[in-house]
Structures are given as C-alpha cells and as structure tokens.
C-alpha cells in the first residue's frame, strides 16, 4: 500500500482544559502543535500527567479540544459527530496500554479480529475469516488457525497485545495511535511488539503516533519526538538528536529515569 494514500495529521494550537466542581481549571494540553507526515512515526513522551493520553483522545476524536484544530487530511477531527466520527475511526485506530483490559474476555480471538472487518469493511463472514487469518499471520500469531479459537485468558500478554494490534489493523487504518503499547509487557517480549510496529509502518505506509514514558522504546520506534511536561511541549526534534543532546531539564530527568543497566555501570554505549 503506497504511503501517499495516508494524509498528514496536523495538530494546531490545541488546548484542552477540564473544569472540576469547586476546583481550579486544569489545563491538560496547553497550546500544542505538531504534524505527522504520511508514513512518519512521531513520539509523544512525558511522565504521568504530562497530557500524552489526553492528546491521544483528542486526535482520535473521543474528546474535543477547548481550542485549536486537528486536521487529518481534509477532515476536521474536532468537528466530527456520529456517523462521520465512526467513518473516521476506520482511518485512525488506537492501541491501548493494557492488553488485558482491551479485549473482551468472553470473545475468541477470531471474533475480536473479524468484527471490524464486518463492521467497517462490510465483509461477508467467509471473507472476514480469511482476512482474520491473514492479520493473525501478519502480527506473528502463527499458525493462525491455532490462535483463532482462543480466548484472551489463554494468551500471554505479548500475544494479547498482538491481537489488539491485529484488530487495529483490520479496518486498514492510515494512522495508528499507540498509547504505551509495551509498558505492561515483559521486557523480553517488548522487542517483538516494537519490531512488529516498525515493520507494519514500512509495509503499509501507516503513520504512527507513539505515546510513552519510555525513551528507549521511543528511540527504537520513532523518527521524531515531542517531550511534553504539564501539557506543554518543552522540546522537540529528531529522536536521536533530542536524546543525545537534550536541552530541557525535564528531558534530562526523563533520560536519567530510564532503568538502564549499562548507564548504571558507567558504560553509556555497548
């Protein structure tokens, strides 16, 4: 699939504030602008409460910005309602942090992955089954026939996250928003999921918004990163440049917080 089919995403001066009764206004996202070029991978990094996940909700249309605009090609995301919002979700899919909570425990892998094929693409059951098998192979759940009949509790965390990714891919999205997709997985399984995301981007020309507090995985997956602190972008640029020459003290703090055995031993490179 050519990358040119994917439109650019542009987030322009977006503000999101929440008002709680009896409390001051909380500005979760404060004047954030960025674009994701077709086929690019952009990382949003920051600690808890930096506004990363709020941005994900704004971009996928599940929340509306207080100010600013979000464009995906010609679509004004913040203006979408009902049926048009649903159509938009065919183009933009989200992969959540928690693969344990993102799958219905009562449905088989086959059902979970076939639903979007039938709902969004209007496929017949036979076609959807064929596509489900292809998708499971794509995400490395092979042999697909063996995984199709399984329920979520019969899978490991890494396998579940692969099912979540297969489901996200089912409706042929152009942008995937991955919100901490590996932070709940065992470290030995993370590399596999990260490699899968990188491969899908290459093969399908997908754009990727990768949200994380883990700078190591951001380095592996993204070309460009934005560092968020308290809703504001404090630093941005080429991922490698930003990590090698951080300018903002918050970025340095995040880098120091990476559990890195090599740094602990005073060997910064292997």
């Amino acid at each position: 699939m050519p990358a040119s089919r994917t439109p650019p995403l542009s987030v322009d001066q977006v503000v999101k504030s929440y008002r709680a009764r009896g409390r001051d206004k909380v500005t979760a996202v404060d004047d954030v602008s960025f674009t994701i070029a077709p086929g690019a991978a952009v990382g949003l990094v920051g600690a808890s409460g930096s506004g990363k996940s709020t941005l994900a909700k704004l971009i996928t249309g599940s929340e509306r910005p207080t100010r600013g605009s979000i464009r995906f090609g010609d679509v004004r995301v913040e203006r979408l309602r009902a049926a048009r919002l649903r159509r938009f979700h065919r183009q933009v899919q989200i992969v959540f942090q928690d693969p344990y909570g993102a799958l219905n425990p009562l449905h088989t892998v086959a059902y979970t992955v076939m639903r979007p094929c039938q709902n969004f693409l209007g496929m017949s059951a036979a076609d959807a089954t064929r596509r489900m098998h292809e998708l499971l192979e794509t995400v490395g759940l092979t042999p697909a026939s063996q995984f199709a009949a399984k329920l979520p509790h019969q899978l490991s965390g890494g396998q579940r996250q692969r099912v979540v990714i297969a489901r996200a891919l089912a409706c042929e999205p152009q942008l995937i928003v991955a919100d901490e997709p590996v932070s709940m997985l065992d470290v030995s399984l993370r590399a596999g999921v990260l490699k899968l995301l990188a491969r899908l981007r290459e093969e399908r020309g997908l754009s990727l918004l990768y949200i994380t507090h883990d700078l190591l995985s951001a380095r592996v997956v993204t070309d460009e990163i934005l560092v968020l602190n308290k809703g504001k972008v404090v630093e941005r640029g080429n991922t490698k440049d930003v990590l090698q020459h951080p300018q903002d003290t918050y970025t340095v703090q995040l880098l120091d917080a990476v559990a890195n055995p090599y740094a602990a031993a005073g060997e910064s490179t292997r």
């Binding site: 600690a47 808890s48 409460g49 490991s156 965390g157 890494g158 396998q159 065992d186 470290v187 030995s188 399984l189 993370r190 590399a191 596999g192 990260l194 490699k195 507090h213 883990d214 700078l215 190591l216 951001a218 380095r219 592996v220 490698k240 990590l243 090698q244 703090q253 995040l254 880098l255 120091d256 917080a257 990476v258 559990a259 890195n260 055995p261 090599y262 740094a263 602990a264 031993a265 910064s268 490179t269 292997r270």
Partner: protein, 329 residues
C-alpha cells in the same frame, strides 16, 4: 552471618481438584546480614510467590510444599499464629507493589502507625498518642515525608507519597529483613527513581537485609549487590550484580540484558527472547528455557540442569557448564 537460609522451597498452586501449578521449584536462597539482593523474573516466573513463601504470606490455593526456611536460626516454615506474629516485630516484612493502595481510605496515616505499634507493643510502651506521633514523624522523615502527612488520608497523597508511607509503616517494627516486591512499578518513571533512591539510602543507613523483587533488571542492577534470576519457578542464575552485567552465563539472562540499551547510544538495537514461558501446570522435563534457547542441545530437553558454580556465582545451564569443563581440559 546468614540471616535467611531457605532450602528446597517448593510452592504449588492447586486452584481446582487435580490441577497443580508448580510455581516455585527447589529454590535455595541464603541472604547474608545486611546484604541487598535482587530477584529478577518476568510475569509468572514465581518471584512474588517466592517472596510470599519466604515471609509466610502464602494463602490457599498456594501451598508451601516441602522446604525449610530458617530466619535467624528459627525454622519459620512451620510457625503458626502467635509465634509467627511475634516474628513480625524486629523480624521480616514485605513491601508490596500495591502497598500504596493498602492504606485504609477512611483512616489517617497516624491511625495506621497507631494500629501497628499497638498490635506489636512491648511492655513499657504505652502506645500513647504522643508516642505514636513522635515515632510516626521520625519514620516519615526517614522516607522524606513531612510530619504533617500524619494527619492526611490516603486520597490526599500522591502515589509516590503513599508508597513512601507504606515503607515507613513497614519500618515501624524495625525489621531485619525487608522484601520489596516491585515497590516502584506502579509509579511514574521520575517518582520511581526517587523512591528507589530512598530505599537504597535507608538500606545503607539502617543496615537491614533487603530482597528486591522486580521484573526490571535495570532497576535491580542499579540497587543491589547480587542478583538472582528466576525463570519458570527456578533460580537459573545467581551472580554479583557487576559480574552479571559484564558477562551473564545463562542464555535467559543474556536475552534479558539484550532487551536493554542506552537510548542515547549511536546505534540502538533491541534484542528480545522469542517464544513464551512454559506452562507450569505440566510436569517439567529438561530445562524449562530450552524451547526458547538459542544454545539448545539434545540434553537440555531431557535433564533439568542444576545450579552449578559458573563465573563468580552460579548458573543452571548444560551448555555453559560444559564449555567451562571443555575449557579447563
């Protein structure tokens, strides 16, 4: 002096009739007085179950099946009720991952200190409010919290502060051994680092023996003197932390280490370990890592390798053990 000496510890879960899950298998652990040791393993490796077994916190369907656990010379594996409770003061304690959620939401922090101190009061301790406040403030200060936290409720504190409170509560009985089970995993990255620093400082200052259980080899190597690596219920490697980092002997440890890299390096390549951990309800034959192991040989599928001396510590691997023998010849 060896403070905790556990031998042949086995824990099985029996969730239903006829179903047995071998969670911890034949584990020997000896912790020296004042030592800071890490126990690393991934989901389902049995590390938390082992921590519970060592502090006698196991509840059905988990059961300690054989093995001796000596704490300061006393076999605690068979203690019950009041004898076990007596050991909690000045004995062994456990800090949980979700310990920060273990605070009672309708009681102030001061009441939590009061409960513990009164339950374990010794003759001469009046358990007066003034005494509890004084001791509580002292303990809070040792985990870098202000004394005014005493009058707060859990919901008024951040996650990091709650975890600090739960550490202060554990310290209130002056334990000689503290097992920290993923004490920082539920916290934000930056807070995580600060809480780990506090744990390291406390350990150095108070000199208690610590066992840090974590899935994160990075966190463990940074804090501990020695690391034990657990896989599928067994200890597969045991090395001084610095040696483990320089050259692990078990291929599983190698795989774990390859999952880390410095994000600032010029080239970053992440390794990982293909496959998934074994089903612990099946009787194990051979080395449980064999199906995922890059070095696997026929013997690995037949005989479970014992933990043998390798490098500065020990590892359980046929291939690596035979390399050493071949080298010696």
């Amino acid at each position: 002096m060896v403070l905790l000496d556990a031998r042949g510890v086995n824990v099985v879960y029996e969730p239903a009739r006829g179903q047995r899950i071998w969670s911890v298998r034949d584990v020997d652990i000896a912790l020296e007085q004042g030592e800071f040791v890490g126990l690393v393993g991934e989901s389902g490796s049995g590390k938390t179950t082992l921590g519970f077994a060592l502090t006698r916190m196991l509840r059905p369907p988990a059961r300690l099946e054989g093995g001796e656990i000596h704490f300061d010379g006393v076999d605690i594996s068979s203690l019950d009720g009041e004898q076990l409770r007596a050991q909690r003061r000045n004995g062994f304690a456990l800090v949980l991952q979700s310990g920060m959620n273990a605070l009672n939401p309708v009681r102030t922090v001061e009441r939590h200190f009061g409960d513990i101190m009164r339950a374990h009061a010794r003759p001469g301790e009046d358990g007066s409010r003034a005494q509890i406040r004084r001791r509580g403030a002292e303990l809070l200060a040792s985990v870098q919290l202000d004394a005014d936290v005493l009058s707060r409720f859990a919901h008024e504190l951040s996650g990091g502060m709650r975890q600090r409170v739960s550490i202060a509560l554990v310290l209130s009985l002056d334990p000689r051994l503290i097992i920290f089970d993923e004490p920082t995993t539920a916290l934000d990255v930056i807070v995580q680092r600060a809480v780990m620093q506090t744990i390291k400082d406390l350990q150095r200052e108070k000199g208690f023996t610590a066992l840090l259980i974590s899935h994160d080899l990075g966190v463990v190597l940074d804090a501990t003197d020695r690391v034990m690596v657990m896989y599928a219920g067994r200890i597969v490697e045991d090395q001084p932390s610095a040696d483990l980092l320089r050259g692990p002997h078990h291929p599983y440890t190698e795989g774990l280490l390859s999952s880390y890299a410095d994000p600032r390096a010029d080239e970053v390549e992440l390794g990982g370990i293909p496959g998934v951990p074994p089903d612990l309800s099946l009787a194990p034959a051979g080395c449980s890592f064999a199906p995922r192991c890059p070095l696997v040989e026929p013997i690995c599928h037949e005989v479970d390798p014992p933990l043998t001396p390798l490098g500065a510590g020990s590892a359980a691997c046929h291939v690596r053990a035979s390399e050493v023998v071949a080298h010696a010849r």
